[in-house]
């Protein structure tokens, strides 16, 4: 995709890179795009252009997420001995969830669609951060409970089950926390039918649903007697969740682009 960039944009982007210094190149490139798209000059344009710009921004963020998930499957093998997704699955799970978490936090903080207008105190921020952490932990526990209710062993393989719950929360709860904050009411609104109104709400809805459905579908091959290494608990489910998440990341910009008429620009 070739985009004409005004010069000032470029310099601003470059400055950003310089400031970040040692950060990954890919990240910098992506931020460049993102910054270009989020420039204030866009605000002068009204309506559909604004929406299109937002969708584009969403698209780049999602592509970046997907690329980074793919990178987690083979980059660690340079540093760790005999690393492979299937055999040292738990390591990969940790790395993948860490990576997705960091990217989500960084990107959404950077590209936050509605930066809170009122300046809040440090204390308020810290309380929000703590609240978010607690929420994340609770969601991990909740997912763990649901997985056990679905029939995962209660005592054996506890760590595996818990890591599955963690990665599921990373795919679902963490973006919600980043975008909506620890605000249950907003969550409830987003996750009801016809509740999501903005682009970001919709992308949240789609990615969350698709990762949960992916994990759900991932349980299907377990009873088959193919005796493949990936049928071991919880590999097929975590892979299902990951693929579901990636599919959601891909689908949501497309879906939003096709239904952009019905969506409002600002999220509440």
């Amino acid at each position: 995709m070739k985009i004409l960039r005004p010069k000032d944009v470029k310099t601003k982007g470059m400055r950003q890179i310089n400031v970040r210094g040692g950060s990954q190149r890919v990240l910098a490139l992506c931020l460049l795009f993102v910054h270009f798209e989020s420039l204030p000059y866009g605000e002068r344009l009204q309506g559909s252009t604004m929406k299109d710009a937002d969708i584009k921004r969403l698209f780049y963020v999602h592509i970046f997420c997907i690329v980074s998930i793919i990178l987690t499957t083979f980059i660690p093998s340079f540093f760790l001995e005999d690393f492979s997704v299937l055999e040292t699955h738990l390591t990969w799970l940790c790395i993948c969830s860490m990576c997705v978490a960091i990217i989500n936090v960084v990107l959404y903080l950077q590209v936050k669609p509605n930066p809170s207008s009122k300046r809040s105190s440090i204390f308020h921020k810290i309380s929000r951060l703590l609240k978010s952490c607690v929420y994340f932990f609770i969601s991990c526990l909740l997912f763990h409970a649901i997985i056990v209710l679905y029939g995962a062993p209660l005592i054996e393989l506890m760590l595996e089950t818990f890591l599955f719950a963690v990665i599921l929360s990373t795919f679902t709860t963490l973006p919600c926390l980043c975008l909506l904050g620890p605000n249950i009411k907003a969550w409830l609104r987003v996750f009801t039918r016809n509740g999501a109104t903005s682009i970001w709400d919709n992308s949240l809805q789609i990615t969350t649903m698709s990762s949960v459905i992916g994990a759900w579908l991932g349980a299907f091959p377990i009873p088959l007697d193919w005796e493949r290494p990936w049928q071991v608990w919880p590999i097929s489910c975590t892979l299902g969740a990951t693929f579901g998440y990636m599919a959601g990341l891909l689908i949501s910009p497309v879906w939003i682009y096709r239904n952009r008429k019905q969506l409002t620009y600002k999220s509440r």
Binding site: I146, V148, L149, Y150, G151, L188, R189, T192, R193, N194, G195, W216, A219, I222, P223, L224, D225, W226, E227, P229
Partner: protein, 905 residues
């Protein structure tokens, strides 16, 4: 492709040089067998296991059929076995020495073989065995893991080569002192597909090499013939003859002639005679018209010739004549054997395709009819008429009948084999043809009618499809997914997982719905809710207009529940929110009670812990608690008479369990007298019949005297309670919690989910069906005959009486589905504002049960040559058939209940 070395000391061979007899690949055809077990079974019995064996033996792991190992043991041969422990399960007491390797852990392909090889050096030096069986699993595991082109295959085959060489050399050195030569048999029991699996019937999977090595064979220099195809079943006969054992009774194989080729003519003829006598006996047992079989006639001819030959031989005639006659007899025998073997294999392995097709077509037509009438049957008046008036359809009908009868006559006159449809009387056959064509005409008529009406209803359809809730989508996809899963044998083996998964998801979806109903229904979805309410009101008005029976007064039965309404609303709200989670926890607990299926069946479950004799006290306490809970849950809806009967009946159940020694009574801790508990069981039966009678009396009263609707539902609840009492008597001792949880879940669902959320009859029906299926598996059933509890058929009976025993067994097996279906009926009838609900429910119930069955019948017909057909698909078909029968009975009951509703003015 497991390598099985069968080492046999060959008692009659006499040869000089070690020989190799390349018999080439063998074929075990599209043969109905259970993977590993059956391949060994086929090797050792020479027969093809059939469905009837499965039913008769209740899938006992021990091979009871006449087989080679059993014969060898009976003849005093000492058999040693090393390898896969499936053999030890098949032949538990046959080996003088064995070391089984569990094949459970597939990724290991070294240890399993080393476990076999480590015995080799010592055992080859010893003299104290006659047959040595080595079963190498490594190659099979490699195939499963990495496929046939893996780099691991080469070294593995080299290793096998080395082992073969080692065995051969040591056998040769042994032979110098012993008089009899050894026979070394190398064979695989199944092949490997391109992907490394096996189980289907492709050429690569069903043909494997067979190699017989012995010094008794003569070396053919130079011209190595291309290997011949032989049947796997032939090996048993050959080995039996070679070892001097009787040929297994049910073997359909014929002796491999090249093995005995170098013996004297007399011996050759003797062997062939033995084999053909055995085969003709088998034919006599299985085929009524055996005299007309060409194989049998050939056998008679060759027997006569054989007699002539022996006469000549005994006369000392040594001339050319004798040799020529001998050759002629030989050829005759071989032909006879071939024909006999063929007709016997056909007998077992062929299907009566014509009858199967006719059956499948009828099933399919009825399902299509049900599906087509769905929209009509689920609309308000719930009636669907069959359009049969127009003359063109009657013409079509006559034409169809004529054509089908013609086809029938052609097929029956040209069929070589007996087929079921041809053997019934022609009147019946014509009836079947008429049924098929009538159904077809109805379908065509319905289709044309829907196409005529398609334009006006298109908008309606679009509107209704947008109104699908998540629950509807889940139900739709769940049903579809379940139907699709029936195509895979593993999913059938583990069908309980499908159902548990589905009801868990259902509970979560319900939880979501309850949640949304409480927190969002008021503010955000306000508009939507208002709209829906308006629609609902409009519908209700319509309903009121349509129905002449609406008695919106509160029934007496729910007095108890109305007391709940006095509770503060906050509590109820939280209870409602918690109820799906409560159900989920119940289901999770029930899962641990009985571990069914195949893959995880070996895991310890709570049921085993309870039934072990160390935990009798715990079981007693649990039984006692469960019975009390059952009474508490049931008594709310009982009439006062049946309440007393119920209490006494449950007491009787406990006495019965104490009498047969399942539980301990607190006052007789050390008395060990165990009876059959006939008096106690009959005591309970009296109360069951009493409660059922009260229920039926109420039903009749409501029908004849036009009394209150509440009397009818009271009667239904009484019938339900009677069945609960019967179930409490018949369930296995540790399974009483299943009944308790079933009642508990029903109560919770009724109070907190179905009533407040106002699900329509179709949704409630399908939820009942799903839970019924899940409870079928919760009580420890599976799609395997082995889990069938036949002991339920003997409760309260002195000896085996067929009809009650069959009834009790079927009821005990299907307690889950039956109880949930009757609960559905009672629940719907006690909901006063739903007048057409019962007919909707019966339609939905019939539909949801018939879809999987009809899909399954078609799947099984197309998969009839699958390797697992007899071990997995056939038992499932049996279960589905019985389930369908029960469903039909329940639907008739539903319709009768609905009719009483309509008779009223």
């Amino acid at each position: 492709m497991e390598a099985a070395f069968l080492l046999l000391s060959h008692p009659r061979g006499e040869g000089r040089t070690p020989q190799l007899l390349p018999l080439g690949s063998w074929d075990w055809g599209p043969r109905p067998t259970d993977q590993r077990r059956a391949s060994e079974q086929a090797l050792m019995t020479g027969s093809i296991p059939g469905f009837i064996d499965v039913v008769m033996n209740f899938n006992s792991p021990v091979l009871l059929e006449d087989n080679l190992i059993g014969q060898a043991k009976a003849a005093g041969k000492r058999v040693i076995f090393y390898g896969d422990d499936t053999w030890i399960k098949l032949f538990p007491k046959h080996f003088v020495e064995y070391d089984g390797t569990t094949s459970f852990f597939v990724p290991d392909f070294k240890e399993v073989d080393d476990n076999v090889t480590r015995h080799l050096d010592t055992v080859l030096k010893r003299e104290d065995w006659d047959i040595l069986i080595l079963h190498y699993l490594g190659l099979d595991h490699i195939g499963h893991l990495t496929g046939p082109h893996s780099s691991l295959i080469g070294p593995k085959l080299k290793e096998m080569d080395y082992i073969l060489k080692k065995i051969h050399i040591s056998l040769l050195s042994k032979e110098k002192e012993a008089s009899l030569p050894h026979l070394l048999v190398l064979c695989g029991d199944h092949g490997m597909s391109e992907a490394g699996g096996h189980g289907a019937s492709s050429v690569e999977e069903v043909s494997t090499p067979l190699l017989l090595i012995s010094s008794a064979f003569h070396r053919k220099m130079g011209n190595l013939q291309p290997p011949k195809h032989v049947q796997q079943t032939d090996l048993a006969a050959t080995l039996a003859v070679g070892l001097g054992l009787p040929i297994p009774k049910n073997s359909v194989g014929s002796i491999l002639y090249p093995v005995v080729e170098k013996r004297t003519m007399r011996e050759q003829l003797r062997f062939l005679h033995l084999n053909s006598v055995q085969l003709s006996r088998l034919l006599q047992e299985n085929v009524p018209m055996y005299e007309k079989d060409p194989g049998f006639q050939q056998f008679k001819v060759s027997e006569k010739l054989h007699g002539n030959w022996i006469k000549l031989y005994l006369e000392g005639n040594n001339s050319e004549v004798l040799l020529n006659l001998g050759k002629k007899v030989l050829k005759q025998y071989l032909d006879a054997l071939k024909t006999l073997s063929m007709s016997l294999s056909k007998q077992v392995a062929q299907y009566d395709m014509y009858s199967m097709m006719v059956g499948a077509i009828i099933v399919l037509e009825i399902t299509i009819l049900l599906l087509l009438s769905t929209p009509k049957a689920l609309c308000q008046n719930a009636a669907f008429e069959i359009p049969l008036s127009s003359s063109s359809f009657s013409l079509l009908f006559y034409l169809m009948v004529l054509i089908l009868s013609a086809v029938h006559v052609i097929i029956c006159t040209s069929a070589e084999r007996t087929c079921f449809l041809c053997s019934i009387s022609w009147l019946m056959a014509v009836g079947v043809m008429m049924l098929i064509s009538a159904l077809l005409c109805v379908i065509v008529a319905l289709l044309t009618k829907t196409f005529e009406n398609v334009r006006p209803s298109a908008q309606n359809l679009a509107a209704s499809s947008s109104g699908w809730s998540e629950l509807d989508l889940l139900i739709l996809f769940g049903t579809l997914g379940h139907v699709l899963s029936l195509g895979a044998s593993s999913f059938i083996e583990e069908e309980h997982q499908t159902w548990y998964f589905l009801i868990n998801t259902l509970c979560l979806a319900l939880g979501h719905e309850v949640f949304r109903n409480h927190f969002l229904g008021k503010d955000l979805d306000h508009n939507l809710a208002v709209e829906q309410n308006i629609k609902k009101n409009a519908k209700n008005v319509l309903q009121y207009k349509n129905d002449y029976v609406d008695v919106p007064e509160t029934s007496k039965i729910y007095k108890a529940s109305s007391s709940m309404e006095l509770l503060p609303k906050v509590y109820e709200k939280w209870l409602q929110l918690a109820s799906p989670w409560f159900i989920l926890i119940c289901c999770r607990l029930l899962r641990t009670l009985n571990q069914t299926g195949v893959q995880w069946a070996h895991r310890l479950d709570f049921g085993h812990w309870l039934t072990s004799s160390d935990h009798k006290i715990e079981l007693s306490v649990l039984t006692c608690l469960s019975l009390i809970m059952i009474f508490v849950l049931v008594q709310r809806r009982c009439s006062s008479v049946s309440k007393v009967a119920m209490a006494l009946g449950l007491l009787g159940v406990f006495c019965y369990r104490a009498a047969i020694g399942n539980v301990l009574l607190p006052w007789q801790r050390d008395r060990k007298s165990i009876s059959k508990g006939i008096i106690e069981a009959r005591f309970v039966y009296v109360f069951v019949l009493g409660i059922l009678f009260t229920g039926i009396k109420d039903l009749l009263k409501s029908q004849i005297i036009f009394a209150d609707v509440s009397i009818k539902s009271l009667g239904l609840w009484d019938i339900y309670n009677g069945l609960v009492l019967l179930a409490a008597l018949l369930l296995r001792p540790h399974n009483l919690p299943v009944l308790v949880f079933s009642l508990l879940i029903q109560a919770v669902m009724t109070k907190f989910i179905w009533k407040p959320l106002k699900h329509d009859a179709a949704q409630v029906t399908i939820m009942h069906y799903w839970f019924g299926q899940a409870f079928f598996y919760f009580q420890g059933n599976s799609n395997n005959i082995a889990t069938l509890d036949i002991s339920a058929g003997f409760v309260g009976l002195e000896s085996f009486i067929e009809v009650p025993a069959l009834f009790l067994t079927v009821f005990a097996t299907y307690i889950g589905p039956i109880l949930w279906a009757i609960h559905l009926l009672s629940f719907l009838s006690s909901e006063n504002n739903r007048s057409s609900a019962i007919s909707h429910a019966s339609f939905c119930y019939a539909l949801i049960c018939s879809i999987p069955v009809s899909a399954y019948i078609i799947l099984v017909t197309s998969l009839r040559y699958h390797l697992f057909i007899w071990s997995v698909f056939s038992p499932k078909l049996l279960y589905e058939g019985v389930h369908l029968f029960i469903t039909a009975t329940i639907c008739v009951f539903f319709i009768v209940m609905d009719q009483t509703n309509l008779i009223k003015p």
